[in-house]
Symmetry: D2
Subunit: 345 residues, 4 copies
């Protein structure tokens, strides 16, 4: 049984990690921290975990947590992650960071979108934790930068086309929509029920921090610089991201060829499901699971391809993908504790 810690475990992502790890046969959660809920049991804060997980929140330092585990999930905000990661790594604890701190390979870009980076030497040591693209690099890593939720949906949605070089790189538009759990559990006006329910809005229009992360990974896939327009929206649901992606084909491509490219690219990937031709995914088809479902269309009239990609933002977009990475680090089957059946309705 590997001993794992969750550093910053009181938010939705922390809870989701614990929820999923509670059914993992190969690990034991030996440390769980929260300043706010120190001394309380997790099932007092998340009563659904009654009888399932009973860890008590500690207000412990990274040093203390490092002594209790072999792998740690950082579920703290950006800034805090870069402060604690070196402590864990120095003590031989492998780190899976769910914040943005080690996702961007260029310090200048990180600092433009986020803040001063205080652990920049570690950036080159970090592996971008999208197993479908970086599996081999993840296995031996000790610092995994777990991808953002929006980027996961977008990168998986575009990877086959970019690898095949079938799309004009200056034509990509990403119109994403996310459920509200993506905003976290901090009480803030914009996350109140009455503000979100029966509403729908775009936010951070062409200014969301996931933009450079998306561009970095699309550029890596394309082998050259890619810039995208990215507009996120807020859906009045708890979970789910749907990204509608538009791009102009470089040359013509039949719908069936497009389909074949995706089927082939993902044929060995358990967690990516390519929809049947002519069908498109609903976020409700992946809720509670680690799947990414992708639907495809070619619009002949305009020469564009339209890709619809969905994930559960808390699972494939956060905690599930983190556990997928953990399984790789531990040499376990990648689907361990992640062969989750979507909950519908």
């Amino acid at each position: 049984m590997a001993r794992v810690g969750i550093y910053g475990g009181s938010g939705y992502t922390g809870q989701e990690l614990l929820r999923l790890l509670s059914r993992h046969p190969g690990v034991e959660v030996t440390a769980l921290t929260s300043r706010k809920y120190r001394g309380q049991r997790i099932n007092q804060i998340y009563p659904g975990l009654m009888g399932i997980a009973g860890q008590t929140f500690m207000d412990a330092s990274p040093e203390e947590v490092a002594a209790l585990c072999e792998i740690v999930f950082l579920a703290v905000p950006h800034g805090e992650a870069m402060a604690s990661a070196p402590v864990f790594l120095d003590r031989g604890v492998k780190v899976i960071d769910l914040s943005a701190d080690f996702r961007l390979r260029r310090v200048d870009i990180y600092e433009k979108w986020y803040q001063k980076h205080t652990a920049s030497p570690l950036i080159s040591r970090a592996v971008y934790g999208l197993p479908e693209l970086y599996r081999e690099a993840i296995v031996p890593a000790d610092l995994v930068a777990n991808p953002g939720c929006y980027p996961t949906s977008v990168i998986l949605g575009l990877a086959p086309l970019l690898r095949e070089g079938k799309i004009r790189l200056d034509s990509i538009i990403v119109d994403s929509k996310s459920g509200t759990s993506g905003a976290g559990r901090d009480p803030q006006l914009g996350s109140l029920f009455c503000e979100v329910n029966e509403g729908f809005k775009a936010y951070k229009v062409a200014a969301h921090r996931h933009t450079p992360e998306i561009e970095q990974e699309l550029s890596a896939l394309a082998g050259q610089d890619v810039r995208v327009s990215f507009v996120p929206h807020l859906i009045p649901v708890n979970r789910g991201i749907l990204s509608t992606i538009y791009g102009t084909l470089d040359g013509s491509l039949a719908a069936s060829e497009l389909h074949d490219i995706y089927r082939k690219f993902y044929e060995k990937e358990y967690f990516v499901r390519v929809c049947e031709a002519g069908t498109f995914p609903n976020i409700s088809s992946v809720r509670g699971s680690n799947f990414c479902d992708i639907g495809l269309a070619v619009e002949e009239k305009t020469g564009r391809v339209i890709i619809v990609s969905v994930i559960d933002n808390l699972i494939k977009g956060a905690a599930g993908q983190a556990i997928q990475n953990m399984n790789l680090l531990l040499g376990l089957p990648e689907t361990t504790a992640l062969d989750l059946v979507p909950l519908f309705p």
Copy 2:
């Protein structure tokens, strides 16, 4: 008091017409039809109207209804509207058609997307009922084709830019999201609560019937052929449409210039509200009102403009706009019975 009829009044649009007309000082609803609910009072079907509207649904022919009113709203499905419109017009009753039957000026396009047109000579007599663009033509008309819900949000969102010729006509992408009342009140699987709630999906991807209507009107504004990519999505809310519109600027344009163009274009339009620079509208800000709110951004990196346009699909996207047209036909102030304050939260 003008006598008005509602032909096909049992759906959400019919109810909305009656709801709004019940507070209109210049008209009286003298006929209301429904085959299904014949003999029942509208407030038995819509109990919220108890004490407000008590008309009994008739199962009456167009001829019978024509004898009871001066203006009629057709709130029946396409196909049925073209069958009854000639009857009303022949008897001197002005027609405001909420179906798609008279929106498309070219019969071949109508027949490609809908069905055989049996009243095609009337098409040229119809005026497209978007008052902000066609006010002068509407006033003397006797057949008004009330615009579709998605097209209303898109056309108002793009009109100023197209009139000014500031956008590349082959670059327009429209990513729209609609509340569920747009699907009507017919019991069908896809409209069930459990299918829609906690879900989000694209549907009729690049194949929605509102596409030719949008293209017709954008082409008219541009003075040449415009083709767009149009993908609608279903939001789990009752009311509201939000369209996120992307286009590449023809030349450069500062955000403030863009803003000025819109402010100026709409400065005399009560029902179009241009958001303050840097802010974007939420569907919850127009719920229950006849407003269209528009937010604007210029993305310098890509040279694109991003426009977000919202309406209440049952009001500015259907019944409210129809009453706006009726007010024009009757020579009444356009805002009569439509100076509605949005309901929030």
Copy 3:
């Protein structure tokens, strides 16, 4: 035009007052306060009010506000209301208090459930502002205690039966359910979208502060002490309260007799609608309106009566009722600005 002030106008109730008053022909809102949003326009905080209401929030003292109006709505939390009410009254400004500070006639009971009362001499001067029961006392009053939302639904639901003495006073159970706007706009964990959506819970079981208010008014109706069991629940909707009320009949009563009692009791009340026999109200039938709808059943097997009563908690349960009281104070028709048609769907 009467000049009215809203003291504490940034919450949902304050916004609702302004929303409704913006269409009131007899008053003008001349003062609007908020410490938090001082200097901002209300339509920046509530963008739905763009073009409708443009008052700027002041951070003004009661003295300053008193100089600007003849009537003031107190939309501040309990405790703050009792601190400012005397200032207004001393300056001849009539007060409609939406907090709980002047609802309870007995200081000891107020202090048991709330806090120390610092303006207790005013309690006897206050009139309980439920126009259907206290209209004549409200007209000449200068301090109106606007009822709580739950109590409004319960008292209107039980008044006819209690007045007629048809129910055993120790048998009353009130199971109420409220939409989330009742919790206000302060960011707190329990009001977050993800906490409320797809959830349903009882809260403050048999311990809600509206209990003594309900008991006070039911006792007044019955002419003797009434104790009730009261359990509120939270519904994942924005607006609406539904109270299901159970009581044992004192003697037998046919369903039709029960119906007649209610019809008669409320026959002159515009805002109370008694549902047809065998039908029960939905909160969606009163949304956006000042109506209270009541459905009735007699269960012969157990000798119980079951009453279902619904209101929009922000209108008949708060701002609408406050304006109804204001109309009475001003000698205006009670329905002025309140002849609202419910918004459905």
Copy 4:
């Protein structure tokens, strides 16, 4: 591997059975029927099951299905279940019936609330499938009547008190609230998104068919006739039932004693969780799980006890409980495939 069939598998309950059984290590679903979707794969109807379950719907007779399995779940409407059950039993196939056909022990009561019973001799052979109360009788049974969703929440909520004889039997009032999946997947007006969303209503007030089932089981627990008032309501959520139960104590009982009674009664029951004193359950704490959570209060003022009981109506209220029964029939651990962690948020 036991071979199991699902007779009538296209509704939400059928899907839920398949969803849960897809992860059951001891059974294989060898037959799945649906007239409507004959020839289609279940993952075409429920795309969330893509890659998880690929059975094709058969339009097969009970005889044909009986040849393919050892145990069958009847997920057809009442009436149809009683028609097919004898066929299965005659062929040695054990039956778990999710309809109401074999729940009521008295034919006259069944026929009063439902319809003519055509397989009444089988009623005495059926065991009421609530394992927490009837485990020993279920193990050797060949016909299990799976309880209704509301009754499950109510019976588990009241069993300890009734067994202990602590409550006045004529005082019980049950105010229940259910999510919309309880209404099934048939397209009907009342289940449409726009009719349910932002709404809340009571329905079948004191007239719901689950009343006699509740009364039968409460009477069995009490050892004498019990009559209850039962009012169900519809919550705008997909899943979940919350029952608020009121009763007058026979003698006095401290809150801690009440708690002890429940803790003791359920101490060996994995699926029943008694909440900590002073806390009450939310349906969101059991979503996606087979748990029943119970909260308790004593109201001294009135001498009443208030019990709040929640389940996921599709799991503990239907498919999960059916699988719990199947596990008993197969001699497997009762929690097999049912150790589900609630999905939150």
